[in-house]
């Protein structure tokens, strides 16, 4: 139930922001659209804790801030290597353990790895992530587990 309420609220806000016209006709059409999308998502059995991870609401902003800092640092490093040339990169493929208990936090971990330039999660199977990294330094950084510890805080 909470997931349905949260999804319909999100959809309504999304419509209001994108439309910008608040006449009765358009508001009515918006309500109909929200109802239609809600109906379809229920039929597809998509409204659950994975599409609406409400239990993460309080913890995710702190994580986003930390991730933003990590993304900026990684960007600077990759740009430096782009201008230095190919002798400065050391492409590596390796397997990383994903110790997270829930699927959604595992996916957040893998997506964070991909979002950070310099590392891309190629495959996520069971509790291992296959990662391609641009440099040895990025490999060491991931293996040191700083990001993993930060992600695991979401699960407490």
């Amino acid at each position: 139930m909470r997931h349905s309420i949260s999804l319909s609220l999100l959809l309504a806000v999304f419509w209001l922001l994108n439309s910008g016209y608040y006449t009765p006709l358009l508001l009515f059409l918006g309500a109909v659209s929200v109802a239609l999308v809600m109906f379809i998502s229920h039929r597809m059995d998509m409204v659950d804790h994975e599409s609406q991870p409400l239990h993460l609401t309080l913890r995710i902003p702190g994580y986003w801030l930390w991730l933003l800092k990590a993304i900026i640092l990684a960007n600077v490093d990759v740009v430096y290597r782009i201008w230095r040339g190919n002798s400065s990169i050391s492409p590596t493929r390796f397997v990383l353990k994903a110790s997270q208990r829930t699927d959604i936090v595992k996916v957040i971990y893998a997506n964070s790895i991909t979002l950070t330039p310099g590392t891309v999660a190629i495959d996520l199977e069971g509790d291992t992530i296959t990662v391609h990294a641009l440099t040895r330094k990025a490999v060491e950084e991931l293996k040191s587990g700083v990001m993993e510890r930060r992600v695991n805080l979401l699960e407490l």
């Binding site: 999304f14 990759v78 990169i89 997506n111 590392t119 495959d123 391609h132």
Partner: protein, 110 residues
């Protein structure tokens, strides 16, 4: 006072737009320069995240209406949420299509 704030916003926005442009160009250079598909993906990541992010934040400082600001925030959010999904799909397709990555070997082990 209002002129001062306007001026500061314009300068800040200009700096962010130039920086964002620099990151986008760097991503493009990396895309051409790096040796194989997988390494080029990392260069594209620069354009996806900080390049797009800085340009969007720079535009946010220019927005005069609240609704424009909120829409720009939505654009940034969607770019950051869909970017990794697309990169991951590409990388996974490449790996399952048996495209071997060019890997680095230490000179000592060669």
């Amino acid at each position: 006072m209002e002129i001062m704030i306007d001026l500061l916003l314009n300068i800040g926005s200009g700096i962010l737009l130039i920086l964002g442009g620099f990151f986008c160009v760097s991503g493009g250079v990396g895309l051409l320069r790096f040796p194989d598909f997988y390494t080029r993906m990392h260069a594209a990541g620069v354009t996806d995240t900080l390049g797009a992010g800085l340009i969007l934040v720079g535009l946010m400082l220019q927005s005069t209406h609240l609704i424009v600001l909120l829409k720009l925030i939505l654009v940034l959010l969607f770019a950051l949420l869909t970017g990794p999904a697309a990169s991951h799909a590409l990388a996974k397709a490449a790996m399952h299509g048996n495209l071997k990555p060019l890997l680095y070997r230490d000179k000592s082990t060669r």
